[in-house]
């Protein structure tokens, strides 16, 4: 039985790990390599590391950091941040990273998805969609540059485009829910889920294992990603890296899922 993936998502800013709220107010939570070592011990399903400086500063990905992360990870690693070209994607994959996340560059130039998939394979191309709800229209809008710039694009339509072009996974990241720890935007996830046959990973808002259980209940085999949940403990948001044990994870998988592939 293929299992849902429960995935810590770590943000890198000024060389350290941070956690944001609504994509703002980064709070320092530790050293990236040290965090990976702890997550190794906790046997996490996979891990996403996003360099939130690289795309905004228009800088090259930090290949030294990526190489060190890939060597340390005993679980699959998805790297994102500042990735704009096929050459960069090739370089990152050759450093031992399993998946490369592209966002702003893929939205600005969707052909990048197709070109990258041809070279390194669809399974390694993850398209991240940072999404904000447009309250006046009861719809969603895709944002780029760490949520700073709206695109006017609808994430559901872009999800279809990304699939056609050869993406291997979609990460749906709710800017509205980021850091609030009050649950995922299940409506947003549902709209994207219904529109594609790609594996999806939902990020933004998980505050407890109950939120993850609700996501798995709704979508079955799905990626449940979270930042705050796995780096903070308690109402005062004390930094403490944590992750469910194997038995806690198994308890999150509903029986309906265990009966199917």
């Amino acid at each position: 039985m293929l299992r849902p993936r429960i995935t810590p998502c770590l943000l890198v800013h000024n060389g350290g790990l941070v956690k944001t709220v609504n994509f703002s107010n980064p709070k320092y939570v530790g050293d990236p390599i040290n965090a990976v070592k702890i997550f190794n011990e906790k046997e996490v399903d996979e891990i996403i590391v996003v360099d939130i400086d690289a795309s905004v500063h228009e800088s090259q990905p930090d290949y030294v950091l990526i190489r060190n992360l890939a060597a340390e990870c005993r679980m699959p690693l998805c790297y994102g941040g500042g990735v704009k070209t096929v050459d960069q994607i090739e370089e990152i994959i050759s450093l031992g990273v399993e998946k490369v996340a592209i966002s702003s560059a893929a939205i600005g130039n969707p052909d990048l998805i197709a070109e990258a998939a041809t070279v390194v394979g669809s399974q390694s191309i993850v398209v991240v969609m940072d999404v904000k709800k447009v309250k006046s229209r009861e719809s969603y809008e895709l944002f780029i540059y760490n949520g700073r710039k709206g695109t006017g694009l609808n994430p559901v339509e872009f999800a279809k485009t990304a699939e056609q072009l050869g993406a291997g996974e979609l990460v749906i990241n709710s800017i509205d829910c980021d850091g609030l720890m009050k649950g995922y935007d299940l409506e947003l996830a549902k709209q994207v889920r219904d529109a594609t046959n790609l594996p999806i990973t939902v990020l933004g808002g998980a505050g407890s294992l109950k939120d993850i259980a609700a996501l798995i209940e709704a979508f079955g085999v799905v990626g449940a990603a979270a930042g705050s949940l796995f780096v903070f403990k308690g109402s005062f948001r004390a930094v403490l890296i944590n992750y469910p044990s194997r038995s806690e994870k198994d308890a999150l998988v509903p029986h309906v899922l265990q009966a199917i592939v």
Partner: protein, 204 residues
């Protein structure tokens, strides 16, 4: 001594780190000289079939590799695309594979949402070995391993199938033909199941 063939594809360092932690001697081979003496060889792989094959051919070490595996009979473990390259050809590309095993690489049928079998096959799935010996010693009747692929190896001779996994259909998640072993999943990214398997490979 384990030799990891580095032709610029796959997670060399993660494999090497696991062997170092296990206190098993490991060497990364980037030249003909380093490769030629390999006692046990790991052929890693990620990415698209043609891309990985092109890099392997470009390394200029194809001849040494064939000699080690086909003439000298040294144990070799292909991982993910490394396993797929051992086959004759792949539906993913137009290049010829290494042809070490009589098999073709096929794409999973179109994803069937009603079965929730989306493509790629991504995540942790059960691996059921036909024999709990060799590569699968001390892993149990079912191991959990990490998969990331849309293509699978279909051997002509069913007896080559070493382990099966279900994803919409049963497929060969591991094959064995004499000294040639392949795993579709990533043992270097599969926590203690993978570590046990890599240890087993060193002790075959």
């Amino acid at each position: 001594m384990i030799t990891i063939f580095d032709y610029g594809v796959g997670n060399i360092q993660a494999l090497a780190n696991i062997y170092k932690r296990l206190n098993i001697a490991v060497r990364i081979a980037r030249t003909v000289e380093e490769l030629a003496g390999a006692e046990r060889l790991i052929l890693p792989g990620v990415g698209a079939f043609d891309w990985a094959m092109a890099r392997l051919e470009k390394s200029g070490m194809r001849g040494v590799l064939d000699d080690l595996v086909l003439s000298k009979g040294r144990p070799v473990l292909g991982i993910c695309v490394g396993m797929q390259m051992m086959a004759k050809r792949s539906e993913e590309g137009s290049r010829e594979g290494l042809g070490w095993i009589d098999a073709e690489v096929r794409k999973f049928e179109r994803a069937v949402p009603s079965q929730r079998a989306y493509l790629p096959h991504m995540g942790w799935n059960d691996v059921e070995p036909r024999s709990q010996e060799g590569l699968f010693r001390d892993i149990g009747a079912t191991g959990r391993f990490y998969f990331l692929h849309s293509y699978y190896v279909a051997p002509k001779d069913q007896s080559m199938i070493h382990a099966v996994t279900d994803y919409g259909r049963a497929f060969a998640s591991s094959v064995r033909s004499g000294n040639i072993y392949g795993v579709q999943f990533h043992p270097e990214k599969s926590h203690q199941w993978g570590i046990q398997m890599l240890k087993n490979f060193a002790e075959l």
